[in-house]
Amino acid sequence: MSEKKNLLLVPFDPVHDVGIRLVGQRLKARGHRVTVLPPDLPASEVVKRAQQDRYDHILIGRTMGYGVAQVLGRLVDQLEAAGLRQKCSLVLGGKAVTPELAAELGFDAGFPPTSNVEAILAYVEGKPLDDAAGALKRKKRDITEKYSYEWRHAEIGRLLETLAEEAVAWSEGVTSPGIERAELRRAMLEDPENKERILADYIRLCDDLIAGHYRSGAPVGRTRIMSDSEVRILERLKVALPTRRLQHSDHHPLCIFFAGSGCPVMDVAHTMVADGWGVDGMILVDPSWNARVEGMMEGYVAQEEDGTVVTGDNVALMKKYINPDLYFQVRFHRGLNTAEYSVYAEHYGIDFGKINPCYGSLHGGTDPERLVADGLYGMRAAARGGFPFDMPGNDELSGTPPGQTFAGMLVAAAIGRRLGARPVLKPLLCYSPYAMLHGQMDSNFIDYNYGKIKALQSILDAPVWCGEPVGFNTHEDDRSQSATTTALHALLADAVGAEALTFASTDESYSRGPIVMASRIDTINSIRTAFRFLGDASITPTAKAEEYRDRVTEEIHQALQCAVEKGGFVKGLYEGCFGDVSVGAKPGRSGRNTVRKK
């Protein structure tokens, strides 16, 4: 226990002395002797009071402004001329105080109001500031833990079980190049000494583009391999630790952001900065071209397009430098490499996978049969690896109504459940084209979003993670508006009881280039502010929400009945049960006819 200090606190502001008084309370609680002067005493009176006892530190609280600096400088001089500086240190705190300003005014230390009190305590007690003291302590938890995964709607549950059973049985008898490559990749990871031999088989299963990368180092599209020295930049990167949560009440959702700048080093840097601002996790956005090509690259691959190429090396790099307290998700919800992504996810201990055969095939361009085969492989990896996977419902963005979107999502959930995995529902909070056409969101953005999610929750007891990102289609080309709409949707996510939400930066709706960190921070601050504002209060939808819930439930029912009638999930996907061209859904072509019986 350090010795107790004798402290004089001087609220030098004519009005605002709350800040310094709060600091005084903390100091007193630590056992120090604290004398707080009345606010707004003239300088000479402050000097006189400072003479009256032997103080270790004099803490002065003052909001900065142009004329204020002169006054404070004069007070510092007077305290020195009174012989007090030799005995005690002078500390300045208040709005707009920086160490530079404190130095100019002659103080020994300066603390802005955002300083955590730990820093002030450390200074007063003469202890070196432990970087971790006062830092936010996060603990990752299993967001699926408190959910039973029981069907709450008997009839719909039965239909889903039928579809899931059929799909699982079917998948056990088939394989694909993606699955074969995934198995080879798994072997290479588990047995690195034999990698060369196994790789030869792997390459044979790749498209020419990727095979060329392995055989001759031929460049792949707009990618390049980063040098070791570029990657080592991360060793020198130091970012301030977070000191405050985004959430204000415990039930406020976790906040996850997207990374995927194209450069893995940049992604790590962005994540470290976002960590410092209090986000809870990161989703790695991978490129769309990778979904259409058989085979994955290796190395520290960077590219000048949307998304960061997923390679084992890139994932390992991110795992190495990202705060382990952050959730880290790798997506494998579409594409010909779905199975192999899941191998990496399992191998590197990723926190969440992402698989949705319905969205991935009807809106992501992958052939339905192929994606169901590979997707189930991924779900098995998730079950084995003990990590949950989510199913994004971004189908709605193409115009597909939530009923069909969620039917597809629920089939994936049912399958995952059956395979022993723990799926997470990820409905999109958005201003959907369907709602634009049919008017459900003319009055407000709350009722329809709320109602549709209640439909989901009335069918399956599973966690909801609002995505992705929240507020999709409500962002305009304006930073303030963008940040605001995201923040409001964050409140909506809380209202529906979501465990987490994904948010976008203020750049994302119109960025014609890379997303800058400052734009992310705009949104992060807005979310934090919204949560602080709402706290334990709530958003209440109108009675329309219940109507929407019932209607969406019915639509889900119909879509599932359709699929059962057509003979199963895969057939249902091809034959429009989960959406057809009229609502922007179309079975993808990548990987068509590549599934074969084992």
């Binding site: 000479s44 000097v47 006189k48 003479q51 900065m64 402004g65 142009y66 600096a69 002169q70 400088g73 004069r74 510092v76 001089d77 007077q78 020195e80 001329a81 009174a82 012989g83 500086r85 030799q86 707009a96 920086t98 160490p99 530079e100 300003l101 404190a102 130095a103 100019e104 005014l105 002659g106 103080f107 020994d108 230390a109 300066g110």
Partner: protein, 356 residues
């Protein structure tokens, strides 16, 4: 012998750093003296930390010495050899000593109080500095009791009212010109902490009171004052109203008494220069003497017509008063060189320093 000169501003943006930079350049051009730079605040930043208007950067030539806080080295453009550490802590880290090897710009943040400045001065002298320039900060001056002479930078940023500015400059000059009081006697403590009174028997009484802050403290001092005291020494802050009170109480008893401050700064910090000056004059009128133990002469005044004009809440724009009118007014107020370093260069200031 090392000479330390403090560049003190009467307010922020009066041209202290411009003056300092011009002095550094002039000294360097002469070629025969090693110049050292430090600051009692934080100087050389790109934009003003309060008004966000551009500020001069401190560029130092090869061979110059500088004492600045560790964190200021991180973004320094100049390169130098670290000669040593001073053990003096600031909000920006420990103050280090550097000899410049590649010219460039740097932000200077140095010791914020007199004891620290004394340490830095000694260290710079040991490192070979001939002239040490100490940049002030805002209108702060207390640590400057560790220097040998003062240059004051003043101008429109202090006030755009030229009459007021002239009055103040005159008052500053008067107070900084107070003669040295030498008749202390061997019994006087070398570093008095309290107000000391000397009776006719030449014995010094320690009043136990460190400062003269208000009439209460003045009364406590007066109560201990024997009849026919011949001198009183103020080691610390003297607030002008308290001094006035004392003068009014003593009236004719003041004659043949000597009021002494350890240095002129303890008087100047007690009130507006004009008020300090008039109070001292009132004391002189009673035939009392006024002096200081340690003189701190004002060697030159630099003038700056610039001021930041507030043009809407929180925002400032650059503005200027008539610089010829400024020069005329201030030159008439003081008998020492009045220099606009931008138009006249720093040589006139340098000459004044040399003669001191």
């Amino acid at each position: 012998m090392t000479k330390a000169i403090g560049v003190v501003g009467t307010a922020k943006n009066t041209g202290k750093t411009t003056t300092l930079v011009a002095l550094v350049r002039a000294i360097h051009e002469r070629g025969d003296k090693t110049v050292a730079v430090t600051s009692i605040g934080y100087d050389g930043e790109l934009v003003d930390s309060l008004t966000f208007l551009p500020k001069p950067r401190i560029e130092l030539p090869v061979g110059a010495l500088v004492a600045t806080a560790e964190r200021c080295l991180e973004n320094a453009r100049l390169k130098g050899d670290v000669l040593g550490r001073t053990g003096i802590e600031t909000p920006l880290g420990e103050v280090l000593l550097l000899r410049v090897t590649t010219t460039g710009r740097i932000v200077v943040a140095g010791p914020n109080q007199r004891t620290g400045l004394e340490t830095v001065r000694r260290a710079l002298a040991e490192a070979g500095a001939n002239w040490i320039l100490v940049d002030g900060a805002l209108g702060r001056m207390a640590p400057m009791s560790a220097v040998d002479g003062i240059v004051i930078s003043t101008g429109a940023a202090r006030t755009t009212d030229l009459n007021q500015l002239a009055e103040e400059t005159k008052a500053l000059h008067a107070v900084l010109s107070l003669p040295q009081f030498t008749d202390i006697g061997p019994e006087f403590p070398s570093q008095p902490t309290n107000i000391m009174i000397c009776g006719r028997d030449n014995r010094w009484i320690d009043t136990g009171i460190a400062t003269l802050l208000d009439p209460d403290q003045a009364i406590m001092v007066l109560e201990q004052m024997p009849a026919e005291s011949r001198a009183i020494v103020f080691p610390g802050l003297v607030m002008t109203p308290a001094l006035q009170f004392m003068q009014q109480q003593l009236q004719e008893h003041l004659s043949e008494m000597h009021f002494t401050a350890t240095n002129p700064l303890v008087l100047l910090l007690g009130g507006e220069p004009a008020n300090v000056h008039s109070t001292l004059k009132a004391i002189l009128e009673q035939d009392a003497g006024i002096g200081v133990l340690q003189p701190l002469p004002l060697l030159a005044v630099t003038i700056n017509p610039f001021y930041p004009r507030r043009h809407r809440a929180g925002a400032f724009a650059s503005a200027y008063i008539d610089k010829d009118a400024l020069r005329e007014k201030i030159s008439a107020a003081v008998p020492i060189p009045v220099v606009d370093v931008v138009t006249d260069g720093a040589k006139p200031v340098l000459s004044a320093i040399e003669l001191s």
